[in-house]
């Protein structure tokens, strides 16, 4: 085995790290007299093109993956006509969307209407710049990588508003405002929850966070189970996926903020959702699941393949929740964000700060502290969930406390509905 490793380590065919492949290229270019600036531009372009092609492939493949997996979960077949297993379906969709007639509401402010889907797509792609794909494979090794991700993803809020506003449709604007209220509410647990990771790693650099996990031989999800749960739930709300897809509650607000969009502009919203889902899966895989590092496995399998595998593992869970969970009401979602996730995230920060403090001050070895921290934080996570379910959950009532549909008319709380007992009556007619 070591002989085999000697045979590839450091050579250009060492595919475990694709930077091995580009280094000879840069050396060749330097010998040809290309300046440092030129090599910088070429390397940046190569990395950018790699990420853009990954995004393009993801946007096309995931349409099929999502529809197919959700179809199987709901005992349907999903797309199965075009090509083997319906694999050509996304291409057919793209062609159809592109040659559809463009319908733009007559009263919509034109440039906002057109810019909104583009602005919605940009953050999801730009986030991928800071994801480390291997030990030397990262496009932009930013020291503020985590805040870069948070800042860019908060820009999506404005593009949602642009779409809803420019559609000039009541349902679109309602949908957009509801989504913005939800997005800003879930931004806080995300920001506060990820602080725990920064405290452990002592850096906002994503590569450093992966190296921390490698050094301490533990995935961050073990050290920070509560932060993982907070992040996972919040981000599935940010992505507008069930259980928090109030953006597209057909029964309430038609199609949400993209009701008025058709053709390729609608297609961009659709593609952007898939790209965002994959970008978020990449963030989860990097922050919580070790990124390219997987317990020595990355010495044999290329780290970027492991990362893509983890990305699709996380993505499968997103599809799973979409395929199985019902939708929450907006007051339930907002109350959950403000009254539960936010305090939990802050408690998590304080607990982690205390742990890191003790870890550094006592000077005991990592072999004591890593298992201890894992035990404490897992107990904290389980305890808080049990506490929530036992004590707190009934407060998130089944009916809104004050349903005021019209000012002046005080509608009393709705009575609790007991479901009809189908078993006794022999089923519905």
């Amino acid at each position: 085995m070591t002989m085999l490793l000697d045979l590839i380590t450091g050579y250009w065919w060492d595919a475990r790290d694709l930077s091995n492949m580009t280094r000879p290229l840069y050396e060749f270019l330097r010998d040809q007299g290309v300046s440092d600036a030129g090599i910088f531009v070429i390397s940046a372009l190569l990395g950018t093109l790699a990420i853009i092609s990954f995004v393009g492939a993801v946007a096309i493949i995931n349409i099929w993956v999502e529809r197919r997996v959700v179809g199987r979960m709901q005992s349907r077949l999903g797309p199965n006509r075009l090509g083997p297993f319906g694999l050509l379906q996304p291409i057919a969709d793209a062609i159809k969307l592109m040659q559809k007639e463009v319908l733009q509401p007559a009263s919509a402010p034109g440039w906002i209407y057109t810019v909104a889907p583009i602005a919605f797509t940009v953050p999801g792609i730009a986030i991928l710049a800071v994801i480390p794909w291997g030990r030397n494979m990262v496009l932009a090794n930013l020291d503020v990588g985590l805040l870069y991700i948070l800042g860019l993803s908060s820009l999506a809020v404005l593009s949602v508003f642009m779409a809803g506003y420019s559609s000039n449709n009541k349902y679109s604007l309602f949908g957009a405002m509801r989504v913005i209220a939800m997005l800003v509410s879930y931004e806080i647990p995300i920001v506060a929850g990820l602080l725990g990771i920064v405290l452990f790693a002592g850096s906002m650099n994503l590569q450093e966070i992966v190296l921390f996990q490698e050094e301490h031989w533990a995935f961050m999800i073990m050290l920070q189970p509560l932060a993982f749960l907070i992040y996972f739930f919040s981000i599935s709300a940010e992505l507008n996926r069930t259980p928090a897809d109030i953006a597209e509650a057909e029964s309430e607000i038609v199609g949400g903020y993209h009701t008025e969009y058709s053709g390729m502009k609608f297609g961009l919203f659709y593609a952007a959702e898939l790209i965002n889902a994959v970008a978020v899966s990449a963030i989860i895989a990097t922050l919580f699941l070790g990124g390219w590092w997987t317990y020595k496995l990355d010495e044999f399998i290329p780290g970027w393949m492991l990362l893509i595998g983890k990305i699709y593992g996380v993505y499968f869970i997103f599809v799973w929740t979409r395929g199985t969970l019902p939708r929450f009401r907006i007051d339930q979602l907002l109350a959950f964000a403000w009254k539960w996730l936010t305090p939990m995230a802050l408690i998590n920060v304080i607990v982690v700060a205390a742990e890191v403090l003790l870890w550094n001050e006592t000077g005991w070895s990592d072999w004591f502290w890593i298992p201890a921290i894992i035990a404490i934080n897992t107990a904290l996570c389980v305890g808080l969930i049990v506490f929530f379910v036992k004590v707190f959950a009934p407060k998130f009532q089944r009916f809104p406390t004050r349903p005021r549909f019209y000012p002046g008319i005080d509608v009393p709380s709705l009575p609790a509905v007991t479901p009809p007992d189908f078993a006794r009556k022999g089923g519905p007619a």
Binding site: G33, S35, D36, A37
Partner: protein
């Protein structure tokens, strides 16, 4: 290192002039707009211009502790955010009471 064909240089003066231009635009917006929210936008523009000059000084001028410029910029951002929150709440409250956010019609204190 090959000698580049041309070397572009950015001086402190140019950064300060960009900041000044942004500040002048912000001042114009703050002084001339009728809508209270529009005035607030001008103030935010001015605060951004000030941040640009702070960071320009932090980067290029002589200082014992250049991080001070960054600290001040962060505090400016903080104060601006708090100010925006309260000022917009005021605008909303004024609208509720006076049915307008046009400041030339809000003349309660005029004698």
């Amino acid at each position: 290192m090959h000698s580049p064909v041309l070397t572009l240089v950015l001086h402190l003066e140019e950064v300060l002039i960009v900041g000044a231009a942004l500040f002048a635009i912000g001042l114009y917006v703050a002084l001339s707009k009728r809508n209270a929210i529009g005035i607030l936008m001008g103030i935010e523009l001015m605060l951004n211009a000030v941040n640009i000059t702070f960071l320009g000084f932090a980067r290029m001028s002589v200082s014992e502790d250049p991080i001070q410029g960054h600290v001040f910029a962060v505090f400016v951002i903080t104060v601006a955010a708090a100010e925006a929150a309260v000022a917009l709440a005021l605008a909303v409250a004024i609208y509720k009471h006076r049915e307008t956010v046009n400041i030339d019609q809000i003349d309660l204190l005029r004698w």
